[in-house]
């Protein structure tokens, strides 16, 4: 799902779209996208930050 956001950020036409008047490029900078990496039981998974400064 984060890959969709990254793709939108890679194009000028989509970077200039807005949500509630806020440019998408700015919106996409926010939040933390954390992937549950690995397979098997959740107890053995780890979170991998797809965006952010982890």
């Amino acid at each position: 799902m984060r890959s969709v956001v990254d793709a939108l950020m890679a194009n000028e036409w989509s970077r200039s779209l807005q949500v509630n008047g806020v440019p998408l490029a700015k919106v996409a900078e926010g939040g933390a996208w954390l992937e549950l990496a690995g397979d098997g039981p959740f107890a053995s998974r780890t979170l991998a930050a797809l965006a952010g400064r982890a």
């Binding site: 779209l17 949500v19 919106v27 996208w33 549950l36 107890a43």
Partner: protein, 366 residues
Amino acid sequence: MQGARDLLATPASERIQHAIVGSASLFDARRGQSILKGVVLADTPEEMALSWAATVIAEWNRDGKHPVDITANPTPEQRADVEGALKTGWKLRASAVAFQNDWITYGPSFTPLFVAATNDDAAAPLNSQQLERNRFVNRVLAHEMEHVVTFPSWSQTLKPSLTDLTLAQLANKSLFAYLAGQQPVRWMEEGGTDLLTVWTGNSDRIAAATGLRAAGPERNNYEAERMGMTRLLELAGIDTDRAVDRAAAEELLQGGTLEQEPRRIAERIVAQKKIDAAHLDELTDRIVRTAPVSPYIVAVLPKKLHGPADALINTITARRFDRFERYVNALAAGTVAEARALAVEADRASASEDQAFERQFPAPRA
């Protein structure tokens, strides 16, 4: 305010990991199956809208029915679809506490509290406000995991209508009608999910898994759905006040698809009340029809009306399940003609209640 991303660079990062992975691991023993891929901690409503739009676009491209080229030059129609997804995300999901599909997106009413909880001094006693906050945090974490980690039919059931709405219909369709259309299945999912989450004794289990100490379960919101589900489970012989009965409820509610849930409950009521199995189909149909007035409609009303609207929904829900119980008892007594007359009367009364609710709380049109 420190944003969610900034947090990942702090020592709280490890506790965030513990809480999220821990809440997911509550479901490891039960199903071993999951569509959950990750979580988004959103700081703003705009981020909620973007996350929702990204979900819809990923879905369009995955199933190939409505591919949107987001890597090169899209057609004007595809561009309009992306804009439509963002607008719909804003309209439907910006103010949500959380929403979920194969990811869970937690919203700005949750993220700062979650972050604060993970920053508590692990060795120090917590004050009452911290314990209260953690009750909310633990409840939301477990509630959302219930939706996606158990059986994936929940999001699959709702997705087609969300996609349709995004594509073309939003301008021509009232939000009320859209939300009401989801109600027959949605209330059962929310009611079951939340009831299992706040079940007697379960809050300690959640707190142990997330590492966030809390003071008992939090039971705000979802009152009508929990009430309806509680009434159904009671008729099925499951006591929602008994910790030991949770396993049976979990198997009944999460042990199959959402679409088949009314049937599973009907089967259990038939067995419990010794009703002739020939009436299974009509009992299933009656369960489907006995839905609360959609509580999701409240979300699109002005805030000052939320309290009175919720109160009316709760009153109406209690009446509907009183009528349902009379119907079940008539079936159990073998007075089938009386049961069917009660069913007709119940449908008439429900229609009248829906109209009265909409008159008193007219929903803004999309």
